[in-house]
Amino acid sequence: MTAADLSDERLRQATGLRGSASALVDRVRAGELGMVPVVAGLLVICVVLQILNPIFLSSTNLVNLLMECVPVGVIALGIVCVLLVGQIDLSVGSISGLSAAIMAILFVKDGWPAWLAVLVALVAGCAIGVLYAEIFNRVGIPTFVITLAGLLSFLGLQLKALGAIGSVNLPFDSGLVEFAQLKFVPPWLSYVLVLLAAAWLFVVGFLHAAKRRTADLSARSTRFLLIRSGVLAVGLGLAAWYLNRTRGIGWMFVLFVALALILHYALTSTKWGKAVYAVGGNVEAARRAGINVRLVYTSVFAICTTLAAFGGVLGAARLAAANQASGGGDVNLNAIAAAVIGGTSLFGGRGTAFAAVLGVLVIQAISSGLTLLSLDSSYRFFVTGVVLLLAVGVDSLARRTRTSHGRA
């Protein structure tokens, strides 16, 4: 007997191994396994870069790579939220720079405790987001323009704040800097965490499947769930083992993954998350469904700017300094690009929290792989562009048919 939700005779039943395989292809094409092609792209460039330079996949370099992607990655998480509602934030760089400046000044110059300085920086970031949303909701200026104005204004504030000093050193022995540079998960704990994650995935999946079965709906078989958890445990375990050969997994990276998981949960399993996707897909429909669209915008911008501020703080901690260049350069572009590369649509309504993680990994892998090569700047820029296209091209080709079905 088939489950209640699979009883339609038009549904091709995926039976046996070949059925599962073809179902998998179907799902990739339909964009349902959205992340798989991006991961494939990431693997492709990893192989290319490893061939070009055998140090690339060395444990030490991977340890560095994971740490370095955190500040931009945290900012990209916020960008994903904003892109999901079909808006944009060009000012995350400036906000991260400003919050780094605020934190550094309060912490070093004014001698506040680190946690308080960080908190104030985050609150400032949050306030900026609320301000953006208020302007957007009340005046209706496109967020491109609002945040462009923010980019300029907060850069101005950052310069002003650092005013007479220009640059502030964070002490290397402060907890903040140590956290960002030297704190790694002890090997035993990393394996425990891996096992916990796998067990948790299994338990949640099992309970959910049991509930579905009681409700006479199709459910994943326990065997599948076991295999899935097993694969996860082995995969993560191997990764942890490889990283543990040198310094291991940085706590800062763990923090980033935790943030991504929280955001993922909020986006997929809460009322708020559904509202975000709805607003991005069709604002008018969301409004007519009784969703408080303004509140959604406000929350999303507040999250984005808070995360931008947090990214700025982490970046300053990693650099052990806040200066006028903090948050400048390509922080903005990299954060937005990370979200887009991971598969988030600029038009709203499509994307996931993991998009930011994968996207920033792609960007950092390219950047790290190419800086290792010691190319001329001119070649490096050129090759970066080409490799980027390559990485994203894999994803796009896999989805090709999907767009032709009018479901871009």
Partner: protein, 255 residues
């Protein structure tokens, strides 16, 4: 006393006056059909009622009190559920997500099993022919989408249900189910406003027929005692219209 009472509603878009001093009232347990030509202002009236547009003039009474409906959320709170002509679904969300949009079960930890079960229930009740409910609405056929929109309006326990051309895209079986549904709603004491161009359907379920013409009231008829021809004449403003001409011609040809 009518549950919902509109009087003197006007609404313009730029230079186009879509509604001019329109009156309407709906009681509990009553099915009111609004009919009218294309562009007569029916959907505009519905949108005023459901808080999508603010009227330029006129008053809305709900259960005896005068109310303003500043937005769709306010309409929901009053107990007005609407199926819009353009459906207002989010194409990127799947069927379940669209059904429960804004009224999800378990705000901080969505109960997707309960929602899926309830979705299948509602959809079966409307004879929806959906292969799966995990498809994004973008992948549904026109009639499937309309069924989803109708199912959505039944989720809460609204006092007034507004259906703007609910059966336009539906198959024969689904149309019959919706008409059955309207009968049931009336029996349960809900007020129903239905817009339709199908005179047979209108006369089958409505108690009262309100005719709009070029944005103005053009008569209120009792559904049972009025013939289709009379209503069509009120809609087109002519006794001798293309509908009657065609009917005459077809009859002539048949003989």
């Amino acid at each position: 006393m009518a549950t919902l009472q509109l009087s003197g509603i006007s609404k313009s878009f730029g230079a186009v006056a879509a509604l001019t001093e329109v009156d309407l009232s709906v009681d509990a347990g009553q099915v009111v059909a609004i009919v009218g030509d294309n562009g007569a202002g029916k959907s505009t009236l519905v949108k005023v009622l459901s808080g999508v547009y603010a009227p330029d003039a006129g008053t809305i009474g709900f259960e005896g009190r005068e109310v303003t409906i500043p937005g769709p959320a306010a309409a929901h709170r009053l107990g007005i559920a609407t199926v819009f002509q353009d459906l207002a679904l989010c194409e990127n969300l799947n069927v379940i997500e669209n059904l429960f949009l804004g009224q999800e079960l378990g705000p901080f930890r969505l109960d997707d099993v309960a929602m899926e079960v309830r979705s299948w229930e509602l959809l079966r009740q409307l004879s929806a022919k959906l292969p799966t409910v995990r498809l994004p609405v973008a992948a549904l056929s026109g009639g499937q989408r309309q069924t989803v929109a109708i199912a959505r309006s039944l989720l809460g326990d609204p006092k007034i249900i507004i259906l703007d051309e609910p059966t336009a895209a539906l198959g024969v079986a689904q149309t019959a189910e919706v008409l059955n549904l309207i009968d049931r709603l009336r029996e349960n004491g809900h007020g129903v406003i239905m817009i339709s161009h199908n005179m047979a359907d209108v006369r089958a379920v409505a108690d009262q027929v309100v005719v709009l013409r070029l944005g103005r009231n053009n008569g209120v008829f009792d559904a049972r005692s009025t013939s289709s021809e009379q209503i069509v004449a009120a809609i087109t403003g002519l006794e001798d219209n293309v509908v009657s001409q065609r009917a005459a011609r077809v009859e002539g040809a048949d003989q």
